[in-house]
Symmetry: C2
Subunit: 306 residues, 2 copies
Amino acid sequence: MIVALAGGIGGSKLLAGLARRLPADQLTILGNTGDDIELFGLRICPDLDTITYTLSGHCNPATGWGLRNDSFRCLKEIRRLGGEDWFQLGDRDLATHIFRSWLLGKGVRLSEVTRRICAAWGVRQRLLPMSDSHAPTFLVTDRGRLHLQEYLVREKAKLVVKEVDLSAAVKARLTPEIPDSVQQARAVIVCPSNPLISIGPILAVAGMRELLAKCKATVIAVSPIVANDSLKGPSAKMMRELGYEVSAAGVAAMYRGFVDCLVLDRSDAALASRIEDLGMDAWSTATVMKSEEDKDRLADFILEQL
Amino acid sequence: MIVALAGGIGGSKLLAGLARRLPADQLTILGNTGDDIELFGLRICPDLDTITYTLSGHCNPATGWGLRNDSFRCLKEIRRLGGEDWFQLGDRDLATHIFRSWLLGKGVRLSEVTRRICAAWGVRQRLLPMSDSHAPTFLVTDRGRLHLQEYLVREKAKLVVKEVDLSAAVKARLTPEIPDSVQQARAVIVCPSNPLISIGPILAVAGMRELLAKCKATVIAVSPIVANDSLKGPSAKMMRELGYEVSAAGVAAMYRGFVDCLVLDRSDAALASRIEDLGMDAWSTATVMKSEEDKDRLADFILEQL
């Protein structure tokens, strides 16, 4: 059993490779729900949905999120009604949010709702939300405190981040499925997702870091920072603004204490000794995933080490 | 000021004519909400929406309900997720339900929600739901007790109706806007909607019949039964199954006590004396509305009598 911690777009790339290489019942994913947002009374779980749509083969390849061939006709009418429309909600995608919100409203746990959504989309891997509680991430910026999605989507990640507020995750509880999965795993893979806003909230849930630090599985993290920059998304910008070193070594420092091996890009091989000084192995390979072959190759590289 | 009581498709035909003939601020509509249903946590108000879409000019002319040029992509995915899909929810139309459910969830009254939806669609007439409470109509049939929409849409009105259960409407309360409107009206028009399931729920709300019986306005009802049949929809079938006489005289008997004048079709002119025996005037004219001109002509006929 492999357990993978993942955010949305970046994490899903490696998950796609892992899913093609592992039997479905041997991959369990702990998904970030710190990016969840409630809009018009609907609970949106962007990272869980990106993972579900990616693993089902229905994700929009042009964006990395949402469904293929979706339309935005409902959102246009929500705008007419005076609702905020900065968060893209596709017509097909909306079904997921409506269905989820309906079940949550009836008291069904998010873990069970997610299981049903995955089953409907034919996803056979197990996708576990990091918590059944709503634990949204907020960012303190130079223009005030914003929900993560307001920062990422509405403000296009342009504001200066002063603090990542994970207080809701800290108060959230792990689901019973999570310790069970981690304890049964022979390896835990931390996908190359944003360490601050994708992996950070999962780690912030009470007991999660300790669970990973104490488990018998090998914990392997893939650096989302290559050549001192993020390949996509605001990881590097946010790390810089918050005073972290923008490098694979900086990522290693953030994961110190529970990660056994850091996978870094070949171009960063010179950082290996600094990473080893932090008490973890450093494995270098090609980590940039532009094609499906790249994803498979990185998955193979990791699985071969186990 | 004219106040019109209306259900959905049938009532909206006359409303379209009245709206073209009257200044917008002189027409107030009391809409049936007994046909409201909650689906997937969304509050659907089919009659209010049919009225809103009709008066805004955006109603689908082919069906008489829903929006023009709508699509059903979200509903198809709801079906994938295992949700019931017998109730047609268009992608554009869904925005109304999402927006309404969101505001209701925040504690906004349905009357205010409806006002905002009408404003967004450019409807300048006043549309008042019969109550701010959810008061769904149920039908006792030969196959058990069903929500009105289950009977009408899912079962295509094929079951035998044994009883119309308006107990929720009986327990509901009129909004404060309704007595105000009726007391200021010079005429109240009961549109040619189904007397049992469109007008019946409005009349069942505690105090409504008394309000109409005692108001100083002339109360004029248009018979939805012409030549012993309903033009469209299950009015005649339901009246027959419940033991009512299927005729304009049968309609007059149902409205006895608060209606002053019944407008009946010319082809039913022979029933006039029986209607007059019930203590109301009988006005005969062409009441069948197939074209927009028919709607205007019927509106003109009624308004000319006032």
